[in-house]
Symmetry: C2
Subunit: 319 residues, 2 copies
């Protein structure tokens, strides 16, 4: 089976979209962008770095797209199209079937269409470029946080990092249900598309949590020239962390990555607007702290007492 | 040095472009697409597959972008933006300096700006997604060739494939100047942006030659439901092939890939319009054959006598 047959067999799906003028199979895909702005993001997943070598290919396909869609959500963009650059060591129909199944499961759940890509031979890795649309001027960047804004996160934190720990250390939780919760979070993260798209005009800054709260929040602080105070007792700890002691819970939830929840800041006067949006969508959002004027500094307290966070979020190439 | 420092040190360049609303450093880049359609293409280059392990990093950077820009050119699109997904085994300042130098040399030569990407740890590979704009309805696809249309290629063919052969077999040409011609073509392909953008309304179909004339032309024929007759004596053989016998010249030029010249079809009544464009741009274009009604079949003749082409273009995963 050659690269063209692989594309035809596993990756060509009919797209009913009058804006898509030319889909898979030409030198480029071509679409009519309409009146919006175009948001673009690219993320790579490498075997052995971003996913375990024995990971379920369905989860790999699902997650490869989910992490990119999560970046669109973090900008407040509506997902539209993506390209897939798939590098595989050899032709493997079982892998391709499961991978494409997971990929398209994610794609249909958020209305994003595959419009092109490249299939090459080499060590397993997946690069996806996702394209979305925003209302001009309504993009939610990392630079809009102001002292006094409240800091929120969606969902729960720490579940994905716990799964990485359990897998790396070949150990288990006592409760298999909590453990499967943790692995679901790692393998099948749900990008917060609806929430992200609803926060334009409400959130002053936003990003998605991929490397971990403590290191990702720093990007908002650096780009907004602000600081933050985090109240650790407010963190929405993943219920999969309940078998752990408090220090480990904090460690996984604050320094652990891969949750793909949204972290955003909201001016106090928009607190009620946020509450309404969250209720309407049925998504939990939790206030975990406040933006401060201490440029580039995060202070942590636990029930009012200063708490020293030593570990940092995951960073490729850091020693 | 961590991934953020790598991006800051090597890949952040000021972009003076009022249409670019948000550049590198947020969850997504955001641009105003204006009134055009958006063309998107993605290509991956893997070490040991698409370039030799001892390749000059400057050439790798240059070519990674060039092959993507070539796809935009083949659609008649104007290059605008690109994202870079760079996977490298370890931090290597010499590699990054030379790679980024080659990348931005290509970028500035065709007015395309880096707006985002991802830097990850793993076996060396580069995936670029290039974005361009087209005038709505003026895209040049692979499906518009009609029997009687004339088949053209830009530039010369076979030089890049010869370089791959010389390198793989650790052999040399007698004339070092011809040999360096051949390696320039392999390492620093020049995408035909101006020509591609000028052919709207003139070319009925177009693509770029990456896998080789014989296999790439087949894509036009399949998508246009036509055939082709190629006159081998008309092929513009790379001058680097002059030390080879005729059979080998034909083999490299027809079956060898990596030339990144444009192959396109033109209705006979637009022959003069093409001539004017080529003269104005100072780019050689050569008529090499004719589109026929023999669906999916290419016949070759050499000075009027049928010629059997046995070898095929390069295809990943083909046995």
């Amino acid at each position: 089976m050659d690269e063209f047959e692989i594309i035809r067999s596993y990756f060509c799906r009919q797209v009913a979209d009058p804006q898509l003028k030319i889909g898979i199979g030409d030198d480029c895909a071509v679409f009519n962008p309409g009146s919006g702005h175009i948001a673009v993001t690219t993320d790579t997943l490498v075997e052995g770095v971003h996913f375990f070598s024995d990971a379920d290919p369905e989860a790999v396909g699902f997650k490869s797209l989910a992490v990119n869609v999560s970046d669109l959500a973090a900008m407040g963009a509506v997902p539209k199209y993506f390209t897939l650059a798939l590098t595989i060591p050899e032709y493997n129909s079982r892998f391709l079937e499961k991978f494409s199944h997971g990929l398209f499961r994610m794609a249909s759940s958020c209305g994003i269409s595959l419009i092109g890509g490249d299939t090459t031979h080499g060590p397993l890795s997946i690069t996806i470029t996702a394209i979305g649309t925003t209302k001009p001027g309504m993009e939610i960047t990392r630079s809009g946080a102001r002292p006094g804004d409240e800091i929120y996160v969606s969902g729960e934190l720490g579940g994905a990092a716990l799964a990485v720990f359990l897998k790396s250390n070949a150990t288990h939780l006592t409760d298999p249900l909590l453990e499967s919760d943790s692995f679901m979070k790692l393998d099948y993260p749900q990008p917060r598309v609806e929430l992200g798209c609803s926060l334009a005009g409400v959130a002053s800054s936003m990003l998605d949590l991929s490397d971990g709260l403590s290191s990702d929040l720093m990007h908002i602080l650096e780009q907004s020239a602000t600081g933050a105070h985090i109240e650790l007792e407010q963190i929405p700890y993943s219920r999969s962390l309940f078998e752990l002691d408090l220090f480990n819970r904090i460690n996984f939830a604050v320094s652990g990555g891969d949750d793909y929840e949204l972290c955003f800041t909201v001016p106090p006067e928009k607190r009620n607007a946020l509450k309404e949006i969250a209720e309407k969508l049925g998504i939990s959002v939790t206030r975990i702290g406040t933006v401060t004027a201490d440029r580039g500094e995060i202070t942590y307290t636990l029930n009012g007492i200063p708490f020293d966070i030593k570990t940092r979020g995951y960073n490729h190439f850091a020693k």
